[in-house]
């Protein structure tokens, strides 16, 4: 019987390795698929008809200059305090503790690169600021 078996040639394609092939493909797709990780700073833009009057004392003006310097101005006071974007986080925490109704008005110079606005927005998000207004600086 054994001798007979050895001489016989199988007429079928071997299917025993199908599972291995399938697993190989599976592992290949699992490892090669990279899910796009979208990160970003989410904001909600105001509706086009939405304009809200805000008292000046509740506004913290953050003017971003083309060189990246942020000029901080509180409400109506003419006093301007130049700052770096990284320092805004600490400032905002202090200010919001003093006045919970505070709104950050980010005014970016039209020629300032986008990244400086992102830096400031980033700092505000880090300080969990919720009321942010994005504007372009009128010259």
């Amino acid at each position: 019987m054994l001798g007979k078996k050895r001489t016989r040639v199988s007429g079928e394609v071997p299917v025993a390795s199908t599972a291995d092939i399938a697993f190989l493909l599976l592992i290949f797709f699992l490892t090669s698929t990279n899910f796009p990780k979208d990160n970003g700073l989410a904001i909600v833009l105001p509706e086009s008809s939405e304009t809200v009057e805000v008292s000046q004392k509740n506004i913290l003006h953050l003017v971003i200059q083309p060189n990246g310097v942020v000029e901080v101005k509180r409400g109506e006071s003419p006093q301007v305090q130049p700052m770096r974007a990284q320092e805004i986080e600490g400032l905002w925490r202090q200010e919001i503790a003093a006045n919970p109704n505070l709104i950050a008005a980010v005014k970016t110079h039209p020629d300032a690169p986008y990244k400086f606005m992102i830096d400031v927005l980033d700092a505000l998000h880090s300080a969990s600021a919720e009321r942010i207004s994005l504007q372009v600086l009128e010259i």
Binding site: D38, N39, D122
Partner: protein, 148 residues
């Protein structure tokens, strides 16, 4: 083998776990992953990403995110097609309506883009009725360490 051991086999209980369904399981998983993997619809534009430490994952289904690319020179690409600034609201508005107002626009701007263009873009989006906007950024690594 089939003709000789026919009687013997029937009475014998299988000693090992049946492995014949292994392929079916594997194919099932394979098909599941192939079907559920969502490939990005548009190709990436060459931009230098802005970085932010507070960047959060966009909590929205991939099909509800519209990527809006803005290169340094102000060229705008939506779904691999180039548009001029005044066209943006006309392009985005129907897409927004299609998505049952669930659309989130992910602005992928080059970090050196003058802010003037970004402001124009925002007003275009507002006039299209889109209010949920994400400024797509890369996560800032240095700060990631500090946060934890």
């Amino acid at each position: 083998m089939a003709m000789k051991g026919g009687f013997e086999k029937k009475s014998k209980a299988a000693a090992d776990i049946p492995g014949s369904s292994l392929a079916d399981i594997a194919f099932l998983l394979l098909i599941f992953f192939m079907v559920t993997t969502a490939f990005p619809r548009d190709r990436d534009r060459p931009i230098t990403w802005a970085e932010a430490e507070a960047a959060k994952k966009i909590d929205e289904k991939a099909k509800n995110i519209l990527n809006l690319w803005m290169q340094q020179d102000g060229t705008i690409f939506i779904n691999d097609q180039r548009y001029e600034m005044p066209e943006v609201s006309q392009v985005v508005a129907p897409l927004y309506a299609q998505s049952n107002r669930a659309l989130v626009v992910s602005i992928r701007g080059d970090r050196e883009t003058p802010y003037r263009l970004m402001d124009q873009l925002q007003s275009e989006l507002v006039s299209a009725g889109v209010v949920r906007v994400v400024f797509a950024t890369r996560l800032e690594q240095r700060m990631q360490r500090e946060r934890r």
